[in-house]
Structures are given as structure tokens and as C-alpha cells.
């Protein structure tokens, strides 16, 4: 496929995670990963992005947050309006990829809702899957975060996984690496089976013929 491949993401963390994952698993290079600075501008930006010239593949990567279904609806609605016909009522486990409708300039579109298209959550819930199984340090992190006394925890429940991952990264031999670099440094293991489904979605969205 000649043409441009673009991935829409919420923020720079998503951007760097995907880029490093693509690199670690030799998937290929996405021409442009665009951080939108939040889910609202991303969702609002879908119709215009679909009209980008020479676009052949578009990935849409969003956190499911607390309401997976509402997030899915918001994306599916805009794709239907743009001419993608009927979309399933709920996301598929392996990440939905829709082929470009014939006789249009529309791109192939892939949609992924973090962490796994099935449950509420955010990017860091997905990254939790990339922590090597049975890592004793992570068990320690979990205990520590869970035991923060009432009134002293400053983040909401939804951000708990984020606090845990960053705490865990703060306690590596090179403390405080950002998420993308943590993949490159192999603290987070991009070859774990948990990453297979996501990597396969990236491959089908951007690199399949």
C-alpha cells in the first residue's frame, strides 16, 4: 500500500509506547503518530482526519476509561457518518479493522480501546500486562500503592494503574524512565504474549497489504 499511515492517539505517552512497540517487534514505521492532547479533540478530529490527502490507513487509539461502550459509540458514530457502513455494536477483542469502502478515498481504519477492547481502563492497564509475570518488585509496588492511607491518596481509582506503573519504573536500576523508553530498555517486555494481540492489531491496521 503506497500512501500515508496515521495513528491518532490521546497523548505523548501513547505515542511513545506505540512507536517503541513497533520498533521492538519490527512491525514497520507509522508515518505519523498524532497526539491530540485528550480524547475529546481526538474524537472531534476524526471526520477531518479521514479526509487527509493520500491517507491509506488510519489507527484510532483511545482509552476506554470508565465507559467502554460510550467511547465505542462515539467513534463508531463518526465512522458511520463518514461512510463506513454498519459497525458492530461493541468492539471486538482483537481490535476492529475495517477495510476502506470501495470507490471512495477513505482509508482502512483500525480501532483499539485500551486496555484490551473488553474492559474499562487506560494505557497503563495495558502496560501492566507487559510487566514480567511474578515480578516481586511489582508485588511490592502494588502493596505500597494500595496501602496509601485514606486522605493521602491524591489520584482517583482510574489513575491507580498509572501510579503503579510509574512507581515501578521509579524503582528500576535506571529510575524514572518514561513509558516508551521503558519498553526499549526492556523493563516492560514487548515480547510477552499480552502484547501479541495489540501488535497484531497494529500490523493489520497499518502494514497488511
Amino acid at each position: 500500500m503506497t500512501g500515508k499511515r496515521v495513528l491518532m492517539v490521546e497523548g505523548p505517552d501513547d505515542e511513545h509506547v506505540v512507536k517503541n512497540l513497533c520498533g521492538a517487534r519490527n512491525l514497520g514505521k507509522i508515518d505519523h503518530v498524532h497526539p491530540y492532547g485528550g480524547k475529546d479533540p481526538l474524537i472531534e478530529g476524526i471526520p477531518a482526519r479521514l479526509k487527509e490527502s493520500d491517507l491509506v490507513a488510519l489507527g484510532i487509539l483511545l482509552d476506554a476509561d470508565t465507559d467502554l461502550h460510550a467511547r465505542w459509540e462515539a467513534v463508531a458514530h463518526r465512522l458511520q457518518q463518514a461512510g463506513y457502513g454498519h459497525l458492530p455494536a461493541a468492539p471486538t477483542r482483537e481490535g476492529l479493522v475495517i477495510e476502506a469502502p470501495e470507490n471512495t478515498l477513505l482509508p482502512r481504519v483500525g480501532i483499539w480501546l485500551m486496555p484490551d477492547n473488553q474492559v474499562p481502563g487506560i494505557l497503563e492497564d495495558f502496560l501492566r500486562f507487559l510487566v514480567p509475570a511474578g515480578d516481586p518488585l511489582f508485588a511490592h509496588v502494588e502493596q505500597s500503592v494500595d496501602r496509601i492511607p485514606d486522605g493521602q491518596r491524591r489520584f482517583g481509582d482510574l489513575k491507580k494503574p498509572k501510579a503503579k506503573i510509574h512507581t515501578w519504573l521509579a524503582w528500576q536500576d535506571e529510575p524514572g524512565k518514561p513509558l516508551g523508553q521503558a519498553i526499549r530498555a526492556r523493563y516492560l517486555d514487548p515480547d510477552l504474549p499480552a502484547a501479541d494481540v495489540f501488535a497484531d492489531w497494529l500490523d493489520r491496521t497499518f502494514f497488511a497489504p
Binding site: G45, A48, R49, K51, E52, S53, N103, T104, L105
Partner: protein
């Protein structure tokens, strides 16, 4: 307020076939790569808005040099040779089959008599009616060899009115100006190279001299050159006299200067704004609008164009493939209450496919750095 053309449908005209563009605004910028049909789209609108005026068709073919220049042995046509006209039709049809032609139609505020046109080339014979001392054209029989008297003609249906125009009428020198003048909606076309000569602007200038439009033109020219105080045209179209020339009064010179000496940008802008003022309550078409205009002034120029489009009730169609021009258009569209629409044409296989960006989408496209050309 409904624009003259809200929806445009074109079939079989040059490379444009099965094309439907729904959602034109007051000010429209048409982009696309080379050979994506931008100029053809302007030509189609021009043919439609002038009610299929022969003058328009003649000018279009003449501009594309499809009559051939003297000394061009490849392009000497006999008076009834339909070849130059074939280029107007999709697929260079075999003329013995009369089924092919082109059609252009619009939905919007264009008056019904000029909101659709169908054109074919057919073979006709002339039938005399001695009683009324008149004649009419009638379709020749299907077997061309049966009818030695038959000749090719443009077979037009303009908003339901039928016209037959033998092709040899186009081969003569073409003084039939009245047809374009009688158009119910003014339609002004500016070619990509208007900045080279100011003489062709004479008629446009005469139409607005000593009106408020003169003031608008000076105001617009100040965007590029703040020293300009007044503009006028002198000379005449008579032979052996000074040709029509635009002149300006500049703060820096005691005597008027030819506009020509102030550079391409000022001259292009003069052409654009003068044409706009002449298109009042009508349609303005500008091919490659950015020619000669430095990027730094383009946003301000588009702002002026948006403002005048409202004040003078002109629907504007301009083409460009310049990124600077698109960006300036996006900025000005965002600042103006008037609708700015960007239309990109893309050649895909043997089709031309349009993509529309509404003003809202243009804003987002600018914010998100989306390539719209």
C-alpha cells in the same frame, strides 16, 4: 443565503464524469494535484453560469489553444472538423455515435434557465421553410453517408431551451459578444496569468470606474503596496494608439506610474479585485489565484475577498495548489462569518473524486496539521 451553486453535478465534461459536489459555500477554494480537473471544474461552472454562451465555449477552447496556432501543421482543422470540440467531452467520443455528450447542472440560487445544460455533437441537415422564409435544423438520418448535406453541430439543451449551432460558426472570427452580456447572472473568469497584461482589464475597469468599487480596489492594493493612492486606466483599444494600461498614483512619485512596474503581486491583485467587483450579484472564477502573490500577504488578501464576497454578493470559485494559499484561505475563512469551503479533487483510476472540507473541518484540519491539498 443560498449560494448560486450549492450542489454541482457534471457528467462527461473533459475528465469529469459522474462528479457530484454537494456543499459549496460562498467562497470556495479548489485544490488538487496536477491533472485532477481543477481548471475543468471552473470551465464547467463557467459554461453553466453563462447559459452555454457560445462566447464562453469559444474562449475556453481558444484559451486551451485547441484551435491551433498558425504554423502548427498538426492543428489545422477544416471548418466542419469537430476535433477541437471533442476535448470538451469525456473519452473523445466517436462522433458517429451521437449518444455521448456532457451535462452540467446546479442546485442553488442560479435561475432555472441556466441551472442545467446538456451538450452533444450531432449531425444535422438544414430544412428550409419557404412559406415563412425561415429555416430550421433537423437531426440527420443515422447513416451519415445517406445525407451528403449533413454537418456537425453543437446540440444544446439549456434549461429546456434547444439550440443547434453548426460548428463552422465557431471557425469564423468571433464577435458574438452580446450573448455573454445578456447572461442573467454576471460571471467573470480570470485566467492564471492575468498579471502579465493589464490591457485585458479595460472593459472590467470601464464598468466600475468612478464607483465605490474603485475605492475597494485601492484599499486592496494597499495590502501589498501601502503607497498606492489611486488607480485608473488610460489608453484605448483603437489601433495605433496607446493600448489600455492601468496606472497608479503612488505617494513616492509625483507622476502616475504604469501598474505593471509595481510587480506581479500588485497586478494579480488588481485583476482579482477588479474581477470581483465586476461579478457583483454573480459568480467569480479565478484559476491559480495565488500566482504572483507572496505568501505573507495572502491571508490579508483572502480576508478582503471574503469581505467583498459578502458586500457584493459574489460566489467565488478559485483554484490553487499552493500550500501557502490553502493556509491563508483557512485562516481567513476562520475569521469570516461567510462560508469558506475547500474542495480537493483527486484522480482515482478514470474518475475524479471530490473531498469537501467545511469551515468547521478546515479549522480542525489546521489545528491538527492535516494535509488537505
Amino acid at each position: 443565503m443560498t449560494p448560486f451553486i450549492k450542489i454541482l453535478e457534471i457528467d462527461g465534461f473533459r475528465a469529469l464524469t459522474g462528479l457530484r459536489i454537494n456543499g459549496f459555500g460562498k467562497v470556495n477554494l479548489i485544490t488538487g494535484k496536477n491533472n485532477s480537473g481543477k481548471s475543468s471544474l471552473l470551465e464547467a461552472i463557467r459554461i453553466l453560469a453563462t447559459g452555454g454562451a457560445l462566447r464562453t465555449i469559444y474562449d475556453i477552447l481558444n484559451y486551451r489553444e485547441e484551435w491551433g496556432a498558425a504554423g502548427d501543421s498538426e492543428k489545422i482543422y477544416s471548418p466542419t472538423d469537430p476535433v477541437p470540440f471533442c476535448n470538451l467531452f469525456n473519452g473523445f467520443p466517436n462522433l458517429s455515435s451521437s449518444s455521448q455528450g456532457f451535462s452540467i447542472s446546479a442546485t442553488g440560487a442560479l435561475p432555472p434557465p441556466i441551472s442545467r445544460i446538456n451538450v452533444r455533437i450531432n449531425w444535422f441537415v438544414r430544412k428550409n421553410d419557404p412559406d415563412r422564409q425561415a429555416y430550421s435544423y433537423e437531426p440527420a438520418s443515422s447513416d451519415l453517408f445517406d445525407d451528403a448535406e449533413s454537418f456537425p453541430a453543437l446540440d444544446l439543451d439549456i434549461g429546456g431551451r434547444k439550440r443547434v449551432i453548426p460548428l463552422d460558426r465557431f471557425q469564423r472570427r468571433f464577435p458574438v459578444r452580446t450573448e455573454a452580456d445578456a447572461a442573467p447572472v454576471p460571471c467573470v473568469y480570470l485566467d492564471p496569468f492575468s498579471s502579465r497584461f493589464t490591457s485585458q482589464m479595460g472593459a472590467l475597469w470601464d464598468a466600475i470606474a468612478l464607483t465605490d468599487a474603485e475605492h475597494e480596489i485601492v484599499k486592496a492594493l494597499k495590502v501589498i503596496s501601502n503607497d498606492i493612492q489611486a488607480v485608473s486606466m488610460i489608453g484605448s483599444d483603437e489601433r495605433n494608439t496607446r493600448p489600455r494600461t492601468a496606472i497608479v498614483k503612488s505617494g513616492r512619485h509625483p507622476a502616475p506610474l504604469p501598474l505593471r512596474t509595481l510587480g506581479d503581486g500588485v497586478n494579480r491583485l488588481f485583476g482579482v479585485i477588479l474581477s470581483l467587483c465586476n461579478a457583483r450579484n454573480g459568480v467569480l472564477l479565478v484559476d491559480e489565484i495565488e500566482n504572483g502573490l507572496h505568501y505573507s500577504v495572502q491571508t490579508e488578501i483572502w480576508r478582503t475577498i471574503f469581505r467583498l464576497a459578502t458586500d457584493l454578493n459574489v460566489q467565488i470559485f478559485a483554484t490553487s495548489h499552493s500550500w501557502d494559499c490553502v493556509r491563508a484561505f483557512q485562516q481567513a475563512a476562520g475569521d469570516s462569518p461567510e462560508d469558506g469551503v475547500l474542495v480537493r479533487l483527486t484522480a482515482r483510476g478514470d474518475r475524479i473524486i471530490p473531498t469537501l472540507f467545511t469551515e468547521e473541518e478546515l479549522k480542525i484540519a489546521t489545528r491538527d496539521q492535516i494535509e488537505v491539498r
